[in-house]
Structures are given as structure tokens and as C-alpha cells.
Subunit: 199 residues, 4 copies
């Protein structure tokens, strides 16, 4: 196996740290923990990321970029907004099941540890890739007349809060059914909430 480039190694570190942060928490995961996970020395970690905080910020950008590109594929499809909602819910839950670290990191690390992301991720600047795609989805739906023209954040909060809430409940193991069995209900609820008023 070829020696990874510095950039590839950075990504490996981010993935390892992502896994630990999302399962163990930011403050309860130590740099030695991460180093051990990656079978490298503590000192060498710092050749790739200057501090624990910087590592955390790079990870959220990485996730935002990944999720944004998934959403972009959906936005590029020639389908109705209703179908897009269905697609987005599906891909979100699929990600939550197959790469649970990503969604968990988003919900539990990024959204909750304000002090960590304060400098450098103000507002939503570390998650623009992702937010932008939701915005595009929404605005196109409004333009085509399929979605009601309401404040974007009101729609965004519904979308993200709802999906995040469900994944959270899933993570808490309080859902009686499997996560993906909720897709239809939820898509329906979201569509009902966002669709244009019937004449």
C-alpha cells in the first residue's frame, strides 16, 4: 500500500477523530485517544492539526461538504419538490444509519459546543455547503409554485430540526420502529407543512 499524501493523512485523522468525538463526546475524547486510534504519536498529530479546536472545525467543514454534495445530486434531479423532500429524508436517514458519526457530530458536537466553534465558525460559515443546498431546494420549490413562499429559516428549522430530532430519538433508542420506516410519515409531514396552499 502506497504511503498516503499529507492531505490524505489529514483526512484519515479527521475520520478517526470524527468517530471518537461523535461517540465519546468532544471533551471526553483526548488527543492521546485520537492518536492511539490512528496508531500515531501525539506529537505527530500536531503536525497535521495545530490544536484540538482546529481539528473540530475542520471536521464540521468536511461533513458539511460531504452532505452538501449529496444534496446537490438531489437538487440536480428533474423531479418534483415532493419527491425531493422524500429523497432528502431518505439520504439523511441513510447517512444516519451508515455513517452515524456524521449526523451525530453535527447534532451533538457542532450544535452544542458553542465555545469550541465560536472563533472561525461564526453564524453558519462552517456549514454553508450544506445550508446552501437546502436553500436552493427551497427556493426552486417556491419558484415552481409547489412550495409556499415563507421565511426560509422557518422552513429550514422545520427540516433540520425534525430530521435531527428523529435521529436523536433513534440514537436514544426510544423509537419503537426502525429509523427508515419513518421516512414516509416524515416526508408527508414535511410536505404538508411546506406545500403551497391549495387554491
Amino acid at each position: 500500500m502506497a504511503k498516503p499524501t499529507k492531505e490524505q493523512k489529514r483526512e484519515l485523522i479527521m475520520l478517526g477523530a470524527l468517530r471518537l468525538f461523535s461517540t465519546e463526546g468532544f471533551y471526553t475524547t483526548t488527543i492521546p485517544d485520537i492518536a492511539k486510534e490512528l496508531k500515531m504519536s501525539v506529537g505527530n498529530m500536531y503536525n497535521y492539526f495545530k490544536s484540538k479546536d482546529i481539528l473540530a472545525k475542520e471536521i464540521i467543514k468536511y461533513i458539511s461538504s460531504y452532505l452538501g454534495s449529496e444534496l446537490r445530486k438531489i437538487n440536480d434531479k428533474d423531479i418534483t419538490s415532493k419527491q425531493k423532500i422524500d429523497n432528502i429524508v431518505k439520504i439523511y436517514f441513510e447517512t444516519a444509519l451508515q455513517k452515524p458519526e456524521m449526523i451525530e457530530y453535527f447534532l451533538r458536537i457542532y450544535l452544542s459546543n458553542r465555545e469550541v466553534f465560536k472563533d472561525g465558525c461564526e453564524g453558519m460559515i462552517c456549514v454553508t455547503d450544506f445550508v446552501t443546498e437546502i436553500m436552493i431546494f427551497f427556493e426552486e420549490g417556491v419558484k415552481s409554485g409547489e412550495l409556499r413562499d415563507q421565511d426560509f429559516f422557518s422552513a429550514f428549522g422545520l427540516f433540520m430540526g425534525y430530521l435531527g430530532g428523529m435521529v436523536f430519538l433513534h440514537g436514544e433508542k426510544v423509537l419503537p420502529e426502525k429509523l427508515d420506516s419513518y421516512v414516509d410519515d416524515i416526508s408527508h409531514n414535511i410536505y404538508q407543512a411546506l406545500k403551497a396552499d391549495e387554491n
Copy 2:
């Protein structure tokens, strides 16, 4: 002024700690910080709460009990489910504005630091007071035929995720409007999502 009872002092400590945890974070708030806030000694704090984790768990129970009693008042009213949704959204946002620590604690401390609440607050047992009232609201709406009969968690996730998401966006200062100006939009969205199918 009379010397507070032990129980009253416990409540004072919880309120002080709640304020600090929700504004500064759980791990970035130290026991000495809390002691100073309450003008008492570190050692004496431990006469009231045996550990920092236990304090955190007592606080979430306290909040759940408070919010539950607010919801109970709404549930007891003789109004439609649509009106109840409106009432709930209002009281939630009102709390977020007037006692922001409570909602912040719920969103940022309780939901995010799994490792802290793992032992003793599994599932939703530290927030039953609150969840129960949402459940009562929902089941009564279904029984009366006003709300569609769907999986409770699908509805609960919508409600809580949506409201939480909006308060989060508010906290991030990305909302262009004042939080309470979203009440109508959101209530409408939620009602559209939950109401029984027409005809």
C-alpha cells in the same frame, strides 16, 4: 430573612448551575465557578450534590418538571388541537426568550452530552414529565379526530425538533426576524403536518 431549608438551597444551586452550564457549557463550567456564583464554598456544594454529574441530572429533571407543568395548563384548557399547537409554540418561544437557560440546557447540555446522563437518565426517564404532556396532547387530538393517527414519535420529533431547531437558529443569531414573529408560520406548519387528512 429566614434561613432557607436544605431543599430550597438545593433549588438555588440548581438555578445557579443551570445558568452557568447553559451559557458556558457543561465541561467549561467548573465546580468552583458554581460555588462562586452562589457565594458558597466548594466543599459545601458537595453537601447538596454528591457530584457534578448528579447535579446535571437533577437540573434536567427540574426543567422537565417545570415545562411539563406549563404544558399541563394548556392540555387542561378546553380548546382545539390547533389552538393547543399555537399555545405550545408560544409558551416554548416565550420560555426561550424569558428563561433561555432552560431551553438552552435542554438543547445543548442534556441532548448533547450523552456520557453525562448515561447512568440515571436512560431513554427519556429524566424528562418524562415533559414528554408525557406532549403525548397527552397528541393522543387527545387523535381521539377527537382532529389529528391524524400516526406514530407518536414521528409527531414528537417534528414538534420538538422543529421548535428546538428554531431556538437554536435564534441562539446563533441567524434569524432575520424576532423569534416570536415566527409563531404563526410554525404553528401553521406543524398543524398542516399533524392534522387529519381532509374529507
Copy 3:
């Protein structure tokens, strides 16, 4: 033996740290070293001094105050400037022999580690007690006509540089004679340098 007050304990710590810093160097003395010397825990050290740098600054103030009070006694005597020079040289060398840490700290720690004393000890503000007494000695000598009226710093540099240099040579063990055997020569040299021109 009675339990020392917090202030007395601070002084004990300063004396222990002074000894270690001056013999081992600032950067080569660690906080654990100091704690061990004082038979206390590392953590408790920080209950007395918030940082290693602050400890270093408090020590130089302590030394300046000590040496200043010794000089004050000489200044208060009703003797000639020539005799005062003799007294100062004596007390300086005596201190260098009996409390060598103090002079060593002054020369090797305070004067050399600018980055440590930069914030909080700018100019000579942490050694004013000491400098002030030298200034008083000099100005009184000038006023009485016994010393030549020259720039104070030119005289101060002579005094302090000369004495410091000798103690340094002593510390390097390159002096063929015992330190105190130089007192007369040096006092003479200083007096020759500072005395008013004959006419």
C-alpha cells in the same frame, strides 16, 4: 509548630522556588520540582501562584524589597559617601555569600529572561525598591559635594554592573581570591570613579 498563614506559605514557596530557579535556571526548573522541594502537590502550588511566570515576578519583587531595605539601613547612617560605598559593596558581597540565590536570581533569572518579565515588570518597576535606594545614595552624595554630578544611570551602571560582574566571576569560580577580599579594591575603584573632581 503552628500552621503557617497563607501569606507565610506564599513566602515559603517563593524561597523554595528562588533557590531552585537560581541554581537550576528558570526553564530547567519545573513546577513539579518546586512542589517536591516544598513537599506539596503540584495542584496546590497553583492555589498560591496562578502561573510559573507570576511566581517568577513575585520573587524578583521580594528580592528587590529585601535588598532595598538593607540599603535603606546604610542610607540612614550618618557617614560619608565613601563609607557608604564601602558598606554597600560589603552588604552586596555578604548577601552573595550568605544568600547567593538572591544575587544569582537577580543576575541570571531576572536580567536574562526578558520574555518572562515582559508583562508586569516593564522598565524597572519590579525592582524599584532597590533602585530607589541606590538613587538616594547617589543624590545625597552629589548634594553633599562628595560625588561628582553625573548622569545617574552612568553611575548606576557602574555600581551594579561592577558588583554583578564580580559576583558572576565568583560564581564561575575563576576568582583566585575569596570574594570578600576584593571589597577594598572595588570600593576604592568605585569611589575613584564617582567622587567629585579634585581641585
Copy 4:
């Protein structure tokens, strides 16, 4: 431009390290800092100097040799001791102003970090070039009858301590006048201190 020889490269490294050590301190300057300053790799640095300590020792020898050769020029002149004192003070201050790193290194790095120079620079063996010239100056002055015959170190301490002290005060920015404006005062003071007794 021709590729520098190994010896020339060693000198370049010493000059770069000298600059950093004297402005930033020995312990606060890292090998990577020096490597970056010289636009070479860390590993390659070690092809020229086996350790940081060895580098520090080579630098003081280099400085001693440089200053020694400057003094030699003065010693070789056919002038009085009084004039030589004047010349030495001038060249010392001139160096302090034009190559401040050298004097700073001497005062703050070499004289203060005993532990670094302990092995290999005991006594004055790394600064003999310089000390020897001062010794020659002094002994010739005594032989010619112009200077009083006193212990060499008593005279040496005066000379070096005084000049070092003035440069130190200059570095601390507490001197009200420019450094070179003190030349006459200081030369005069030194001459008064060293000259043979009148009679």
C-alpha cells in the same frame, strides 16, 4: 553564486541562531525556528551541529573570537591606556548598537544559562580570545605605570560589568540618553578607577 562550503554554512547557521537566541531567548527559540530562519530543513541542521547545546557553545566561541580580534586592533595601537579605555568603550558600544545580537548573546544567553554551557565551556574557556585581550591591555598598562597594579579580576569585573550593565540598561530602554553619549563619562569613570595613584 557558488555553493557555500560546509564551514561557510556553519557560520551562516551560527549567525541566524545568534540572532534568534539573543532576541527570543535560548529556551524560547526552537530548532525548527532556526531552520525556518535559514530556509533549511530541521534534519539538515543536525548535519552541521549535533545538538542545540553544541550550537550555543560554538556561537559564544565565535563571538569571543570576533570581539577579541577587535580588541587586538586596539591593543596593537601605540596609544596611552587612557586612550585605549576610550577605544574599548567605544568599540563595545558600537558593537552593541550595530551588532546588538553579539552583546545580548554574551549577556543574556552565555552568562545566564549556566546549565547549557556547563560541559565544554567551564571557567572562561569559550571566551578566552576576548578575555586574553583585556588581560593584555591591563598588564601593559600596569607595566607602563599608567594603571595601578591590582588584581586582574577586580579590574576585569569593573570593565565588563560596567559596560554590560550599561548595555543592559540600554536594552531595557531606561537610559534617558543615547548609548554613545555615555562614552566619555564611562571612560572617565573607568580610568579614574584603574589609573595609578597620583602622588
